[in-house]
Amino acid sequence: MTENSNIIRTEDLARYYRMGPSVIRAVDGVSLEIARGEFVALLGSSGSGKSTLLNLLAGLDRPTRGRIQVAGRDLSTLSREELAAYRRHQVGMVFQAFNLVPRMTLEENVELPLRFAEVERSERTQRVQQALARVGLLHRLGHRPSELSGGEQQRAALARALVNRPSILLADEPTGNLDSRTGEEILNLIAEWNRTLGMTVVLVTHERPLAERYAQRILQMADGKLVTNGRAQ
């Protein structure tokens, strides 16, 4: 029954880094469940391990220990190639630093995941335009990221995360580089997609007010461990 309602499930998940002689326990025994269509905030101060947890969920990193199941598949058993396919089809990501490719236009940036997914060229143009229209940047198609404001860049990054129609959106401090009003705009967009598209959202942030305002549930992390696992007020 959990297999059906929970899209993400981890069990005693851990990721340790070796740094010289010492071992950093970035994620240390996290067990959590996230339901399909849920909007969850991962709250914690910097260095609490929330970004590492997000990277593990994204299949960009591999756990040192424990199990991590997404949509019924155990990510720790997948090959590098299978993980890439998982990222391509299941996951959309946005970052604090936007991470648009600076020498590509918005259109090319948004098209990039479609190239990796080997979507037909004719369909690509259409999907890129749809995605950019959704974030209100259709008129900026041919611009390079440096010609856009921070908010616009993050909206473009959202369009890029959306274009492959993923079931999970992983957002790593998406408002960290934006002023509060622009940040809200971005989170409003994410919340809207969560509602209308049924997209599961995991939002990493260190700002409790934002988490409380948008997330259905807050997972607070400290020193690589979950400290609370409860409903947002």
């Binding site: 960009l60 190639e81 396919a85 990222r87 089809h89 490719v101 590509m104 995941p113 492959n164």
Partner: protein, 443 residues
């Protein structure tokens, strides 16, 4: 990622760091150019010598003797497998059989005899040789005065320059003049099939011949013609004259002789590569043969070694250029670290990243190869122009010493791509291994 997308992204990336990539590509181009220019020189020299040899008639000819002929070059061979066999004579019937063998262009006897030639009131004793009509492409006729025989049986003569000078101090004035050839014609006696009765009578005859040309060098009508002829007539005409030759007397006393035979025949093969086969077929007819095939083989080996050395020296520049590719791509990885991380986060597989870097290396190889071959063509043209100019000043005909055939150009481009791909192996593997978390961590 699909191939067209890969190529598109690769081209896009190459356009970005334009100067650096252009310089790297130019490095490859120079490498390819040096390799191709060296090999062009090797190929050109080989062609030059090869043409000379092919046109010399040395290498497409087989000389055929009767078996157990004392003059034959294959005595050991003959002894080994045909001691008790009776002598196979070169009869007209055998000649027709050889003519019908595959790859045989023509079969003609070697006709040579000594006789008297008269022009106006000068008379000289000289040796006359038959020249097959096919000898017209022989290089000896490239710089002749006048022209070659007008037809295979024309009653015409070509004189050797020294001999012409014996007839007149102005040899060029001889062209178009008529000389009189006095010769001994043999006529077979009727034998009624009795071999012991066979023989012939000899009668003095004269033939008017128009001089059509004068040659400076000794033309070559078949390899045994090393003995100098001074006056040449078409072989077919020489045969028709039915003259008494050096070998005729010997033929006459042979017990086996009963009718017309040849002392030796020259078989010209249509393609020098088929000489061995034809030689084999003629030996199976029970005849002895000789060709200078072995001499070409050692010559070919020599050219392979020359090409090898030229190739090794030419490749050095390309090897250096390939290090340039490694350098450029490794730099690109450092620069595009974050971008590689982004691509991986967006779902690019290790293979996609690897292929992208390979594609960039391959495109640089392709462009470098194309430009390099063009450069090499320019260098070759310059070399040919230079040697042509030099030869002209020495009053020699121009030769092209550098040759860039299509196969050389196209395989150089393929080679350039391959070398570039090999140079791309390390950078591509390194880019593919890049940890996306690391790559995305820092600004």
């Amino acid at each position: 990622m699909k191939a067209p997308d890969l190529l598109e992204l690769a081209l896009r990336n190459l356009r970005e760091a334009r100067l650096r990539n252009a310089l790297t590509t130019l490095g490859i181009a120079v490498g390819v150019a040096s390799l191709v220019a060296m090999l062009s020189l090797g190929v050109g020299l080989q062609e030059l010598v090869g043409q000379r040899l092919d046109r010399s008639g040395l290498f497409d000819s087989i000389v055929v003797y009767p078996r157990r002929d004392g003059r034959g070059f294959e005595r050991a061979d003959a002894r080994a497998d045909g001691e008790s066999e009776s002598l196979r004579l070169l009869t007209p019937e055998i000649r027709r059989q050889m003519e019908s063998l595959p790859n045989v262009a023509e079969v003609f006897p070697e006709v040579r005899f000594s006789t008297q030639v008269r022009w106006q009131d000068t008379t000289r004793f000289t040796s006359v040789a038959g020249l097959p009509f096919s000898a017209r492409s022989n290089e000896a006729f490239d710089d002749m005065l006048g022209h070659f025989f007008s037809s295979p049986e024309a009653e015409e003569a070509i004189l050797e320059l020294d001999f012409a000078q014996e007839l007149t101090p102005q040899p060029e004035s001889l062209v178009g003049q008529t000389v009189v050839l006095r010769y001994a014609e043999r006529q077979p006696l009727g034998t009624d099939g009795n071999a012991d009765q066979w023989g012939f009578t000899v009668q003095r005859r004269e033939k008017m011949l128009r001089v059509v040309g004068i040659v400076r060098q000794q033309p070559f009508g078949g390899w045994r013609n090393f003995a100098r002829g001074e006056l040449f007539i078409p072989t077919a005409l020489a045969e028709r004259l039915n003259t008494l030759q050096f070998s005729t007397v010997r033929e006459a006393v042979r017990a086996e002789t009963a009718g017309e035979t040849y002392g030796s025949l020259i078989v010209r093969v249509s393609n020098p590569a088929r000489v061995r086969e034809v030689q084999q077929a003629i030996r199976q007819m029970g005849l002895a043969t000789y060709s200078i095939l072995d001499a070409t083989q050692s010559l070919r080996r020599f050219f392979i070694i020359v090409d090898l050395f030229l190739g090794i020296f030419g490749s050095l520049a390309l090897a250096v250029a390939s290090l340039g590719i490694v350098n450029t791509l490794v730099m690109a990885i450092l620069e595009r670290r974050r971008e590689i991380g982004i691509m991986k986060a967006l779902g690019a597989s290790d293979g996609d990243v690897k292929r992208l870097f390979f594609a960039e290396a391959g495109v640089m190889g392709l462009l470098g190869g194309l430009v390099g071959v063009l450069l090499a063509a320019g260098i070759g043209a310059a070399i040919n122009f230079g040697t042509g100019y030099y030869l002209q000043r020495q009053e020699l005909p121009p030769e092209s010493v550098s040759s860039l055939p299509f196969w050389l150009g196209s395989s150089a481009i393929v080679f350039s791509i391959l070398v570039s791909l090999v140079a791309g192996i390390y950078p591509a593997a390194r880019a593919a291994r890049l940890d996306p978390v690391e790559a995305l961590r820092y600004e």
